[in-house]
Amino acid sequence: MIEQIQSRVEENLQDLDGIVALRLTNQGAAPYLYQSGDDVAQLVMEPRYPVSETVSKLQKRYRDANFGIVARGCDTRALVEMSKRHQIDPNRLYLICVACSSEQADACHCSEPYPILDQWPRSELIGEPVAGAAPHPLVAEYENITREDRWSFWKLQFTKCIKCYGCRDICPVCFCDACALEDPLWVEPGLLVPDFPMYHLIKAMHMTTRCIACRQCETACPAGIPLTVLYDLIRADVADLIGYLPGADVDSKPPLSLTLADAPIKSDLVY
């Protein structure tokens, strides 16, 4: 499949100013802006990086450029949320979408390891979509865990935090100029371990209606905190209560920017 992706990138480079994808050199793989004449044989799909963030940076710098991106399902979901919040311009972006394999989906506990193309008029799909993987085992059994055990579980996990801000820095949908996690009003500077549970719950609250389950935060966490278990549970609640699924629909507005009249609570299950 990688040869097919490489040749589609080469062909599309004739019409685009550049395409963001991973490049493998003798120094390892990282995001790169391919341009006409570049050796596309270096293009790889592993390991994962938030390439949607790279596109955002490049679009902001080159206001007239027409870029492309080689995107997995999670990247396209990130682009949906970024587009709503004016971090990317979909009219200047061509998507070469790639469906992930079952093994890749399993590694990420990904329920949607494929892009939804009808969100993107300028796009194409490479590969056959496979079914979603099972959720993280903890998400599946969370209902059966008592509140006390949940509390002590998260307390233990968050005590491991070294406050690197990596989960925020790697996150494709974390882009605010002013971050609450850097505001001394909310987070005491220089305090390690960060306040339990405020520090992580501020982050989790800000992920509500944003987290597109790409798992980049979990990959970047030096302490191995299962952040996406928390975010998956929040995603499920938001879907249940408000009917909003981040990354699914470019035209549906984020509920936190609407009133309750525009985005009513749907479920009786109000805590």
């Binding site: 995001p31 802006l33 820095d169 990959t219």
Partner: protein, 135 residues
């Protein structure tokens, strides 16, 4: 128009985590972890995540400063190094070489640390060499 990631080693502590410097048109704009590097394995601490910040920071010193009359004035490297050498010579002749000590750094490479101990032993003539990582 150019965007690439340059793999390098974090300039802070001695762990040696690799990181990618995001470079647009020759300007360093950010950091990404090196996901397939054996040391950090895609993780960084807060220093690594901000390792690019000092490179073009407005507070960064861009020329040597000499303290004079309660303030600093800019100087050339030649003038600054000559002054440093002169002061070291003065200390050494007045109080002996063991009045001088050298603190090397985890931020330096092995080769730079080697050169610093060489400077201490062969030039200053003292075995007073220590290191910030020996805490």
């Amino acid at each position: 128009m150019d965007y690439q990631n340059i793999l390098t080693i974090c300039p802070f502590c001695g762990c040696g985590c690799a990181l990618n410097l995001e470079v647009i048109d020759g300007e360093i704009v950010g950091v990404l972890p090196a996901n397939d590097h054996p040391v950090g394995r895609g993780s960084l601490c807060i220093k690594g995540w901000n390792a690019h910040a000092f490179v073009n920071h407005q507070d960064r010193l861009t020329s040597p400063l000499i303290r004079e009359n309660g303030g600093f004035r800019e100087a050339s490297w030649d003038e600054a190094l000559e002054l440093v050498a002169e002061k070291f010579e003065g200390i050494k002749s007045q109080s002996g070489p063991d009045a001088i000590g050298v603190l090397t750094s985890a931020k330096c490479t092995n080769e730079e640390n080697y050169l610093l101990q060489k400077l201490a032993r062969a030039v200053f003539g003292t075995n007073n060499v220590d290191h910030c990582a020996r805490l």
